[in-house]
């Protein structure tokens, strides 16, 4: 049984045939249990729309979405689906519901009927995980942009879902905050086996995933490990995407005729590959 299975899904916002553009056009994809999948694609290609199908916020007009074999169109499964797949929306302001930070984080588990004592510990743990524990009694709407985003993530963590979908969770974070959120995401995935779907425009974050899916105009057009996907520099550029900076540096040097391995992804790999090439130079002295 897969965590999420998307079968030939069609979707458009305006249900009248022909009146508006098709947003999802025959999407086929699966997310396996325990997997960490990154979803990439240019602005407006349908990522958020697809993500909202994963927990029945949107329902397909054609095809089917199954969450642990439960069809999202089946009303009876709605509650189970929502508690299985937690969602951090693209814009945290839309997600903040309460005025006080800790009440906001407690909102999700309260809705799921979790016991008050358990909620207390979950809220504290979730706030610590995102580094916002000291702000627990602050007013949510007065936080800085990045602080709001972390509270939104804590809200979903406190629900302890089996699968977490994060729609651009680090867009407003500083480099340390970005690293902390990505560390948190990786830890939840590796240590607690939580399935992760990450939507991002930061290529260096996608590198951390087990598998990368690339969308273009309502279709999944590329799929593979980060190394497979990011070694296709020109193809990605044609899809309005890019590659991580270390990959780009190797690519521009390769174009100058320098021999470097394909699919270099990280700072360390890049430095190592360059040092190997430079050794000939130093050896020559």
């Amino acid at each position: 049984m897969e965590m999420i299975e998307v079968r030939d899904v069609q979707f458009r916002y305006d249900e009248e045939e022909g009146s508006s553009a098709v947003v999802l056009d025959g999407i086929h994809m699966t997310v396996r249990k325990g997997e960490f999948v990154a979803l990439l694609g240019h602005n407006g290609c349908g990522k958020s729309t697809l993500a909202k199908h994963f927990n029945a916020m949107l329902l397909p007009l054609g095809g089917a979405v199954l969450v642990k074999d439960m069809n999202t169109t089946d009303e009876r499964h709605k509650y189970d689906i929502r508690s299985t797949v937690g969602m951090v929306l693209q814009n945290p302001d839309n997600q903040l519901v309460s005025t006080i930070v800790e009440e906001d984080v407690a909102f999700g588990p309260e809705n799921l009927g979790v016991e008050p004592a358990v909620i207390r510990t979950r809220v504290d743990e979730a706030l610590k995980a995102v580094g916002m524990y000291d702000y627990r009694d602050h007013a949510a709407h007065k936080l800085s942009g990045g602080q709001k985003q972390r509270v939104a993530i804590a809200g979903v963590l406190a629900m302890q879902p089996e699968c977490i979908v994060l729609d651009e969770p680090t867009a407003m974070l500083d480099p340390r905050g970005r690293r902390e959120v990505m560390d948190t995401v990786c830890r939840l995935n590796r240590e607690q086996g939580i399935t992760i779907v990450l939507i991002t425009h930061y290529m260096e974050e996608a590198v951390l995933a087990d598998r990368v899916l690339v969308m273009d105009d309502g279709k999944v057009v590329r799929e593979g490990t980060p190394r497979q996907v990011f070694s296709q520099v020109e193809q990605l550029r044609a899809l309005e995407l890019d590659v991580p900076q270390p990959t780009e540096l190797c690519h521009v040097l390769q174009q100058e005729g320098i021999t470097l391995p394909d699919g270099v992804l990280t700072i360390e790999e890049c430095a190592e590959a360059l040092l190997q090439q430079l050794e000939g130079y130093h050896g020559g002295h």
Partner: protein, 289 residues
């Protein structure tokens, strides 16, 4: 000449409540006309607070702000003029969208400035193309756009006013990589053509490195560093201690330098790295033969 100066500005939020918080402390900064300044700082360091002071959206608890040498709060009625001269793209600018169509939203600022319908039209199309907003989206409701499309619409609205000082608070957050590159190039071109001043707040060290001439670093409400882009990004350890970073290429170059490769100091873009490495790599190939 300084176009904007802050003198001993302090900002306190929620004064008199248990949540009273000093967001900026005794900040004195001077921004030169025609400069392209990148502003970086950890989350909550006061960047948005700082830039909101500069166009009179926020009044400092104490201190003064000078625009072209004049105190912007001296005559309350003139604050509207300040906002035409100092254009601001907010963080989460999509919250400012409110008109029925994207076209009307972008046209709002120019219309307020009393421009002719033709001029307005011209500016809307120019601004939309600058930010890479597809023309077919202009008649859509701004609420029915994707996250990145909303962001572009909001930025276009400010660009259409063609302010002398353009402030952008995290404009590229949520844009796809091509959109990011395009927008940064367009902002740079806009600045160079009009010789105006640009302040860019960003959490992307790579973006700041690519376009800014000077960088201002805020840390817990005070100025921690200020200088040329090269000089600021050469202080990697200090930046990391403040929750910041340097571009990935700068880190790669630092590793090579530690291994004894003679790499010059100021490398913070891929292009600079290419230029620094090619002679070394090509030299190596020739010698190996």
């Amino acid at each position: 000449m300084a176009v904007i100066e802050t003198k001993h500005c302090t900002v306190r939020y929620s004064v008199g409540t248990p949540f009273e918080r000093e967001a900026l402390t005794d900040l004195s900064v001077s921004i030169e006309e025609g400069d392209f300044v990148g502003i970086i700082g950890h989350t909550g360091s006061g960047k948005s607070t700082f830039v909101q002071l500069l166009n009179g959206l926020l009044k400092p608890t104490s201190g003064t702000i000078l625009l072209n040498g004049k105190d912007i709060w001296e005559h309350l009625k003139e604050i509207r003029q300040v906002r035409f001269q100092v254009g601001m793209v907010f963080q989460y600018p999509e919250h400012q969208l409110f008109e029925e169509t994207v076209y009307k939203d972008i046209a709002f600022g120019p219309r307020n400035m009393g421009l002719s319908e033709n001029e307005i039209r011209d500016r809307v199309y120019r601004a939309a193309s600058m930010v890479g907003l597809k023309e077919e989206l202009l008649e859509k409701s701004p609420f029915d756009l994707s996250g990145g499309e909303k962001r572009r619409a909001a930025i276009a609205g400010v660009m259409a006013m063609q302010p002398r000082v353009l402030i952008l608070d995290e404009p590229t957050a949520g844009l796809d990589p091509r959109g990011r590159n395009q927008l940064l190039q367009q902002i740079r071109a806009y600045k160079d053509e009009n010789n105006c001043t640009v302040l860019l707040v960003s959490h992307s060290m790579e973006d700041v490195a690519r376009v800014a001439d000077h960088v201002l670093v805020l840390n817990s409400g005070t100025i921690a560093m200020q200088g040329t882009t090269a000089s600021v990004f050469s202080r990697c350890d200090e930046l990391e201690n403040m929750g910041l970073s340097v571009p990935a290429v700068t880190k790669i170059m630092a590793q090579l330098r530690r291994a004894g490769v003679p790499i010059p100091d100021a490398v913070y873009t891929v292009e600079q790295a290419r230029q620094a490495l090619l002679p070394l790599l090509k030299g190596g190939a020739d010698r190996a033969v």
